[in-house]
């Protein structure tokens, strides 16, 4: 028992460094997915004719490919083909970000649709442009409604991020596996990885709940009265 604890303790700093990489990957991909997803959602609801169709193709494409396949396609295929010398971490961020944007766009689209046409009509009747109305009226409401559903994206991306092990991103699992190949102790080391993931998940959800409460508006959206 003490041997095991000692083993974990001596390898923990090495593995923990990976959690910084994991968090960088997850938050960058979340951010990229958020910004892209928002534009995609707005485009799908409000843009003129060919765009909604193109966007739904994009969504269909990125939701249809398993993330490991997408990662390999980017790492071994697309980026070398384009002559781009990106680090595995950068490639993982882009792949996960694009994929997440497809999912996030559908969360946002649903929330925009749930607002009803009256809000847009009232905004336009006051002389706001479409863009002003979307920025000041539609999105502030849609994003608040989106928070509970959007909160799913964090644990999904966090757990999915371990797949980037396959292209050698030095995240938690990669570092764990390196440790196992050195120590031949899979159980304690992988358990350590699992615990780190769970703690990161817990911390992130706490932050999201805090945000949800901070932006709460009386009687609006998914709020407890």
């Amino acid at each position: 028992m003490t041997d095991t604890l000692q083993l974990i303790a001596s390898n923990l700093p090495f593995i923990l460094k990976g959690s910084l990489v994991t968090l960088r990957l997850v938050f960058s991909a979340l951010g990229l997915g958020f910004i892209l997803g928002l534009f995609l959602a707005v485009g799908q609801v409000y843009a003129p004719k060919p765009f909604p169709r193109i966007i739904s193709l994009y969504v269909w494409f990125f939701r249809g490919i398993p993330n490991l396949v997408l990662l390999f396609l980017f790492y071994f295929g697309l980026f070398p083909l384009l002559g781009l010398d990106f680090t595995p971490l950068m490639i993982a961020i882009i792949a996960f970000g694009l994929r997440s944007s497809a999912y996030q766009s559908q969360i946002f689209r649903g929330c925009i649709r749930s607002l009803g046409s009256g809000q847009m009509m009232a905004a336009r009747s006051l002389g706001m442009t479409n863009i002003q109305a979307i920025k000041s009226i539609i999105l502030p409401q849609a994003l608040r409604i989106a928070i509970p559903g959007w909160s799913n994206e964090y644990p999904i991306l966090l757990t999915d991020s371990a797949v980037s092990y396959a292209i050698g991103v030095m995240e938690i699992l990669t570092r764990g596996s390196l440790t196992v190949s050195r120590t031949y102790q899979p159980m304690p080391i992988y358990l350590t990885c699992a615990v780190i993931f769970i703690l990161l998940n817990y911390g992130g959800m706490k932050i999201l709940h805090h945000v949800e409460n901070r932006v709460r508006i009386p009687g609006f959206g998914n709020t407890e009265m």
């Binding site: 905004a123 009747s125 002389g127 000041s136 608040r144």
Partner: protein, 256 residues
């Protein structure tokens, strides 16, 4: 001869939804200070007509002028005209994520580019006008229906429109709340605001309107001052409709 300034001219407006002709040639003029009330059974295009005036619905043909500027087919942005045409909706359509005062000031800040402090003062002034200064910081969900509708009137008034459109402003309210909204509207009318109102509140129509317009199947069947239209309608169809309203709400001719 009426020599008050003509604010709005509506000329032969047509609108089709699919195969349904909602508006079949509507024309009228509105002079400064007019309050015109539109009545008629549902589906006759009253709301569509109002929405055509500020181009929330684009008419298929026909022209609309605000003063001497054409709203339809205009080179100017439609947002320029919408600032001068206030609109109040049946379901209030207050911005649910903004407090009452923010609802009133947001278009001043975003559209008129008014400094925030000035916009806040103006918004408070408008809320005072509809008697809701104490509720300035409440959110729409915290307001009664009547209060919400008064905020939406204040929101439209803040833009200092030349004309106000009311699309069944009290239809979503119970009778007690209807009164407070109608009182605000009466006050507006008395103070010279030019108003087009779609409503079946005949008490309001008879006491405030200088003209009642009866619409039937996308056309104006007849119009006239309340005394004439209510007491002495020209067509049986008008008589029939007024009789139905009377059955529902009591004797409308005498209610005021």
């Amino acid at each position: 001869m009426d020599n008050r300034e003509i604010i709005l001219t509506v000329d032969d407006i047509h609108k089709k939804y699919g195969n349904t002709e909602v508006l079949r040639g509507i024309s009228f003029e509105v002079r400064k200070g007019d309050t015109k009330v539109f009545i008629g059974s549902s589906g006759t295009g009253k709301s569509t007509l109002l929405r055509c005036i500020n181009q929330l619905t684009i008419p298929d043909s026909g022209k609309i002028w605000l003063h001497d500027e054409e709203v339809t087919h205009s080179q100017k942005s439609i947002n320029y005209f919408r600032q001068k045409i206030g609109m109040v909706f049946q379901n209030f359509n207050l911005f649910d994520h903004l407090s009452a005062v923010r609802n009133v000031e947001i278009a001043l800040i975003k559209v008129r580019k008014m400094p925030k402090k000035e916009a806040r003062e103006k918004a408070m002034e408008e809320l005072r006008r509809v008697g809701l200064e104490p509720q300035a910081n409440l959110y729409p969900a915290e307001l009664s229906g009547g209060q919400a509708q008064r905020v939406s009137i204040a929101r439209a008034l803040a833009m200092e429109p030349d004309i106000m459109l009311f699309d069944e402003p009290t239809s979503a309210l119970d009778p007690e709340l209807t009164g407070e909204v109608l009182a605000v509207m009466k006050d507006l009318s008395k103070n010279g605001m030019t108003m087009l109102v779609v409503t079946h509140e005949m008490g309001f129509a008879c006491s405030v309107a200088n003209e009642i317009i009866f619409m039937e199947q996308g056309k104006i069947l007849e119009s006239g001052p309340p005394e004439q239209l209510v007491r002495n309608p020209r067509y049986d169809r008008t008589k029939q409709f007024l009789f139905k309203l009377g059955e529902l709400y009591g004797d409308i001719g005498r209610s005021q």
